[in-house]
Symmetry: C2
């Protein structure tokens, strides 16, 4: 995507053999990069949410493992680095998927050849993510176009958290259809859930949409239900961190509440994701581990202070504990469908296997 006319991906290999990522912890007020030179750098970037979004977490983990392999291509080092990277965040399936993909590519390869193969495989994972997100955009575009044909006004899309290009390598999952529709001239407007406690909607989705020129309005996470009750939302679309084989969608905490409201008001609600987000080993979303993050992410908020620098203020009194669980599970029954790189399917085992028939034997 473009920022002030210049194209970027969220993660890029440099000529110096390092990996450069957009530092998302400083957005929307600072657009800066961070260099990752080691697997530990990559692990820290994932854990501290310098990079975030399930597909981008996977891409960063792949490059992190490739950085480790370059230092030491031994089996022991690969094992250790993979374990370090995998432990950074428990919910997003793309993380384990990317590490497994890299390790499969390295299996049986002599150590001397491993660094090049690992690096190329990480790059391939990134390129594949871009292609998949572009395909998700195409399939989602059909849905948005069809919905727009039925409204006599710009289409109102509601999204939760950030599942745009910043969450991926490029394009995004939930926002890919929005960008494609905008570029095709479909008039639309996006309701952007602020997405507490880390404000990825207010800070990342709003930034992305503004940079691309897409009309949008930031709202409190609390407002979406009322907007749906009063006819101001035509479709809800969000991303996913892990999808179980039955079509339950684990995504940023609060997605479930929006899906409930969409269902209660007869509004279509979709999750958009590449296959790397699907955990075929889980029979239901109840089995997905839900990450608990530091309470401080809720009790303190960072923003632009009056002097123009980033400042942090405390909003919960120290006498009160806080709990910060980062994800929830939207049951498949509340979803109108899943938008993947292969097309749109029902959120169900049958729906998913229709798009991924090669998984029939495994499941």
């Amino acid at each position: 995507m473009k920022i002030e006319g210049r194209s970027y991906r969220t993660i890029m290999a440099t000529d110096a053999g390092t990996v450069r990522v957009i530092d998302q912890s400083r957005l929307p007020f600072e657009f800066a990069f961070r260099e990752l030179a080691t697997a530990a750098d990559a692990a820290r970037a994932i854990r501290d949410m310098v990079v975030r979004g399930a597909p981008l977490i996977g891409a960063t983990a792949a490059y992190g493992l490739a950085l480790a392999v370059r230092e030491d291509p031994s089996d022991a080092r690969i094992e250790e680095a993979a374990r370090l990277l995998c432990a950074t965040r428990p919910t997003a399936h793309n993380l384990a998927w990317a590490l497994a993909t890299l390790r499969t590519a390295l299996a049986g390869v002599p150590p001397a050849s491993r660094p090049d193969i690992a690096w190329r495989e990480a790059a391939r994972i990134c390129d594949a993510d871009v292609a998949q997100c572009r395909a998700i955009g195409e399939h989602g575009l059909s849905i948005l176009k069809e919905l727009w044909r039925r409204c006599a006004r710009p289409l109102n899309v509601l999204t939760h958290c950030n599942a745009g290009w910043l969450a991926c390598v490029d394009w995004g999952t939930a926002l890919a259809p929005v960008y494609r529709a905008h570029d095709e001239g479909v008039p639309l407007h996006v309701w952007v859930d602020e997405t507490r406690p880390r404000n990825q909607g207010a800070s990342l989705t709003a930034f992305e949409l503004a940079a691309h020129g897409v009309r949008h309005t930031v709202i409190a996470d609390n407002l979406g239900g009322h907007l749906m009750q009063t006819g101001r939302v035509d479709v809800v679309i969000f991303g996913a961190d892990r999808v179980s084989a039955n079509g339950d969608v684990c995504n940023k905490v609060g997605s479930y509440l929006k899906a409930l409201a969409a269902h209660d008001n007869g509004i279509p609600c979709y999750a958009a994701l590449p296959e790397s987000t699907i955990d075929w080993t889980l029979q239901s979303g109840a089995q997905i581990p839900i990450e608990e993050r530091a309470a401080r992410e809720l009790t303190h908020i960072t923003g632009l202070g009056p002097t123009g620098t980033l400042e942090t203020v405390q909003v919960v009194p120290s006498s009160s504990p806080a709990l910060n669980l980062a994800f929830d599970v939207t049951p498949a029954r509340l979803l109108s469908g899943l938008v993947t790189e292969r097309g749109v399917c029902a959120a169900s085992r049958t729906g998913l296997l229709g798009l991924y028939p090669e998984r029939r034997a495994a499941s």
Copy 2:
């Protein structure tokens, strides 16, 4: 209620003939008072949310009108002051109710006698609110005790926004049963929705519960659904700003989402309110005006800065518009009941008329 062992009401007449209110815009980090000497002071305090909470808005408006009457007891001045006060906030029914109650008490009274009567009537409204909230506490206590009998562990209550003593003159509506249960030795724990965008949960409910020694945990508004799905919520209880004659409940934005989640998980969900919150003239919640407040309440957040003073930071980029609607309507069908000073009833016309039979003719 007590703060560090000393009893307070949120609004108190002073010997100097002014009205002293707790400045809720500075909580939880500063416990300070503000003096209201004129109707304009009272109007400003309501509009700027120095005082908030439907019952307290009503009490403040009553004293505001009494302050105006003392300056000038003419019909014209009463009319003008009532209009000023009534326009401060559109949603809470208690505001119009309190002003109408005061005007009824003054009707036909010679101007010279009006100041005393108005002052006494405002004091009576405050005392009545305290008694009603205490009664709400008793009726709600029965519900909590019964639910607790069925759990083998402390009862988990989830509440949204602040409907505690800070929202009323004393005791609170939704929190009155919690305080009563705590005082009776029912072990309980409260999940406190932070309640964006103004954070009344994090700043007021957390402060209240900590001051009273009630166990609680602050959570993002997004988390309640997940907690309900995973069995960690036994009952949801929130207040109300206006209830229509059919039992629809207008309350702080986001209440509807929690009611949906409670309904989806078979968890009881109650609204607690005194009769002054019921608008018998409205047939459905869809007719309730929803206040739009400044976008800045969403785009900027005030908290305790690193130097120990209140500071404001910007969290939404200036390039993105924001919409801040302050209330939503929970349809009666999602509620297990309404807890009023007269008892608990079904959220329905029949249920309400059962408790308030004198309204049968009017409705």
